[in-house]
């Protein structure tokens, strides 16, 4: 079998190339480190200046919220806003929080209070992330500020409740006195009735003091009680009238009681309003809280293997073309499919080892979690590798020199990488650009790998990208062989 001769030769070649082996070992580590840590879409600890001209409990809460946010690394400064802006232009600071002097007053008056945030928009990522981060700070500080307001209201409500209780007691004793007066009148104990009325008047006056809101109705009662008293003192027999007055008095008590119930209800409502917001969005992450690193790992694996498969294969063939060994081989009985088949298997084998190694790094060194099956991950990566090698063969049949390769390869790899959802979802692209992503084999690998590794999907759930990848692999390898055969010399 001539195929085995090619395989044997390629393995010997690779085994002897120490720099190549070292690259295979070091490259994934460096890429994982660099992409995983240095290349973060998350912005953290942005240098921020804070100017507090309010110097109130409320502004302190805002500062606390800034302090608690991961996005800002703040310095409290005692300079004017204009100076701070100048500072932003010159120094490493990226944002200014400005709390104006009337911040607390406006809040107390229940007016709209504003904090100003100035963002360094010369850096797009910072600008974009801080836009979102600031509302988080606003929400957090507002919650704390509302807590202060509610606490004040609670104290006020406690005092009011005391007053209400007092009024209620008074009303109860009035009720008692009223009843006694009526009884005395019925017994025609005029003296006793008059005394009761006098007591009643004293109590009514007390009530008037305790509940100023009820003054008018109490005055009304007092005047009626006064006429009853004067009638009694005049010894006039108008018991029926008194009866009527007593009835009216009872109605008035009831009114008073109703009014007081309303006051109680209003207080309760007030308390409820201030203790909680009207609504909040409760966030639930279907597949758990995800870090950018976890999001990136499937893509890094895709990237590394695609690079190895694509770049190595194409360069390997260009090298053979340059050293004229390809030319020499072309005059031997070795068939093209044997040559490419041999290379394909060798690089696929290297790819499998590299896949295992990358998985090992991800799982053991970087603690990446794979929710789904490792075997599904392996399968997807193998298909990707096959596609990459096939494309490599295809490109190498077009490229004639290393110089052409060094120009053409980045031209192919970089766009394929950028549209493949490696760093950002397809949604960042305008709609008309999105179909471009479907050209990239890495796009399918990323969908399938993220599905398996993050969502824990089975192979059946990601069967479409997997099938597309498999077809891609077949097509690339087939075309690679066909075109190479035609263009080899």
């Amino acid at each position: 079998m001539r195929l085995t001769k090619v395989i044997k030769k390629e393995f010997k070649s690779i085994a002897r190339d120490r720099a190549f082996i070292l690259t295979l070992i070091v490259e994934p580590l460096i890429l994982m480190l660099v992409l995983g840590y240095a290349f973060q879409a998350d912005v953290r600890n942005v240098e921020t200046l804070v100017i507090d001209e309010s110097l109130s409990d409320y502004s302190q809460k805002v500062i606390d919220a800034i302090n608690n946010s991961d996005y800002f690394e703040h310095t409290l400064v005692n300079i004017t806003l204009d100076d701070a802006k100048e500072e932003l232009r010159k120094s490493g600071a990226r944002a200014i929080f400005y709390i104006p002097p009337d911040f607390d007053d406006k809040l107390d008056m229940a007016e709209k209070a504003e904090i100003e945030l100035y963002i360094d928009s010369s850096d797009y990522t910072i600008y974009n992330i801080l836009k979102g981060a600031s509302s988080e700070v606003a929400k957090d500080s507002l919650q704390d500020i509302v807590k202060i307001i509610v606490k004040d209201l609670e104290t006020e409500r406690g005092q009011k409740q005391k007053e209400i209780d007092e009024v209620e007691n008074l009303v109860d004793s009035l009720d008692e006195l009223g009843k006694r007066t009526v009884e005395n009148i019925e017994k025609v104990d005029i003296e006793g009735a008059a005394d009761s009325i006098a007591d009643l008047k004293v109590s009514l006056n007390q009530l008037k003091q305790a509940a100023p809101a009820l003054t008018d109705s109490i005055n009304e009662i007092i005047s009626e009680v006064d006429s009853v008293e004067s009638d009694l003192r005049a010894n006039k027999k108008i018991i029926r009238d008194i009866d009527t007055s007593a009835d009216e008095m009872e109605d008035t008590y009831k009114d008073i009681q109703d009014k007081m119930r309303t006051v109680n209800l209003e207080l309760k409502k007030l308390k409820k309003d201030f203790l909680s917001f009207p609504f909040d969005i409760k966030k639930d992450y279907l597949f758990g809280e995800i870090s950018y690193f976890n999001y990136l790992t499937p893509a890094i694996m895709t990237l590394i293997l695609f690079f190895i498969g694509f770049v190595l294969t194409s360069l390997n063939l260009v090298e053979e073309r340059n050293s004229k060994t390809l030319f020499r081989i072309s005059t031997t009985p070795l068939k093209k499919y044997e040559l490419f088949g041999g290379k394909f298997f060798v690089y696929l084998f290297v790819g499998v080892l590299e896949t295992l190694y990358v998985l090992f790094i991800a799982l053991v060194l970087f603690n990446v979690t794979v929710v789904g099956s490792i075997f599904s991950v392996m399968l997807v990566l193998l298909l990707l590798m096959a596609t990459a090698i096939g494309l490599g063969l295809l490109i190498s049949s077009i490229v004639k020199t290393m110089r052409q390769a060094s120009l053409l390869l980045p031209l192919i790899v970089i766009p394929l990488l950028l549209v493949s959802q490696t760093f950002s979802p397809i949604e960042v692209m305008p709609k008309f650009m999105r179909p471009v992503a479907y050209i990239s084999p890495m796009f399918y690998s990323n969908i399938a790998l993220r599905g398996i590794m993050i969502k824990g999907l089975g192979l059946g759930d990601v069967i479409i990208p997997v099938i597309v990848l498999a077809l891609y692999a077949l097509l690339a390898v087939g075309l690679g062989i066909v075109i190479s055969k035609k263009r080899i010399t």
């Binding site: 050293s323 030319f327 031997t332 009985p333």
Partner: protein
């Protein structure tokens, strides 16, 4: 006579350029055949067509009785090609390269091993068998390159400029080895006519994609010597005035061509050696000087190539 290769009416164009223009020749089996010509004459294009790497636009090529168009796969099992560049795997050793290239023809491991050992011995590569190609000198690289091609014991061996840029020792060795291959037809392209004359049984001169002349080197020398005459150089004891000699010869004598004068030496061609000599010696008297040395040189293939290239328009 059996012919290893028959080329008839072959033309190959690359766009506007006609690289090979209606060329025909036959190569008898077991002979060493030289394709000669300066750079760009079309030698490499012909070799590429003979090995199936290029397809001719017109004409037919027959190799070992098979058409190079339809039976190239079968042909390739019986031919071997040594390109001008080393074209070996530099990261593999001498032995590994032989194992790979030989393995493409010979399946049986034990058989392959015996032949490789023989090649290593023949090409005096014993000390270098485990050295990587990249560690070898140009001469050893060339030895290995040719050895790799010979492992399959091809019926036809193509060598593209096999003797350029190598040391005398290797050149001698390769020359002897090629001469000893009695059953192999060898096609060599070279621009070194001297080498071709030494090795080749038969040569064809190419220029601008066209065949100029062909024949056995000895026959070509004999044929063109009659046209060119012999080359004589005479050394005198005084410095010579080229203009004066020229004038003198022109005035009295006819059978001297290509006269060159340098310091005390006169070189010229003459179809009639005796007549030419008498003419010149007579002229010596006129210059009052003595002859120190006379050197008569037979024409070489090189001289003929030079002559043919200069006068190609007059040659059929």
């Amino acid at each position: 006579m059996d012919y290893a290769i028959k080329v008839s009416g072959v033309t190959k164009r690359f766009g506007e350029l006609i690289a090979v223009d209606n060329v025909s020749f036959k190569i008898p089996e077991g002979k060493i055949f030289g394709l000669l010509g300066s750079n760009g004459a079309g030698k490499t294009t012909i070799i590429n067509m003979l090995t199936g790497l290029l397809i001719p636009d017109e004409g037919s090529i027959n190799i070992l009785g098979m058409s190079a168009l339809s039976k190239i796969e079968d042909i390739r099992k019986q031919i071997a090609f040594v390109p001008q560049t080393i074209s070996l795997y530099e990261d593999l050793t001498v032995y590994e390269n032989m194992e790979f290239f030989g393995g493409l023809y010979i399946d049986k491991k034990s058989e392959l091993k015996i032949i490789i050992e023989k090649m290593i011995k023949n090409f005096e590569l014993e000390q270098k068998r485990n050295s990587k190609i990249s560690e070898l000198s140009g001469g050893y690289q060339r030895r290995c390159s040719i050895a790799c091609a010979l492992i399959s014991q091809p019926r036809i061996l193509f060598l593209d400029e096999p003797l350029t840029g190598i040391d005398i020792q290797t050149r001698e060795l390769v020359r002897n080895l090629l001469n000893s291959l009695k059953n192999t037809t060898i096609i060599i392209t070279t621009h070194s006519i001297k080498e071709a004359e030494a090795i080749c049984d038969y040569v064809v001169f190419f220029d601008d994609g066209k065949k100029i002349i062909e024949g056995r080197p000895s026959e070509l020398v004999k044929k063109y010597s009659q046209i060119l005459g012999e080359s004589i150089s005479i050394e005198f004891d005084v410095f010579l005035d080229a203009e004066k000699i020229g004038r003198y010869l022109k005035k009295y004598h006819l059978d001297i061509y290509d006269l060159k004068v340098s310091e005390k030496t006169v070189t010229f061609r003459s179809k009639n050696l005796g007549r030419g000599m008498i003419d010149l010696i007579n002229s010596i008297r006129y210059f009052r000087s003595h002859i120190l040395n006379i050197d008569i040189k037979k024409q070489r293939l090189e001289d003929i190539f030079e002559y043919v290239m200069e006068n190609k328009d007059e040659i059929d």
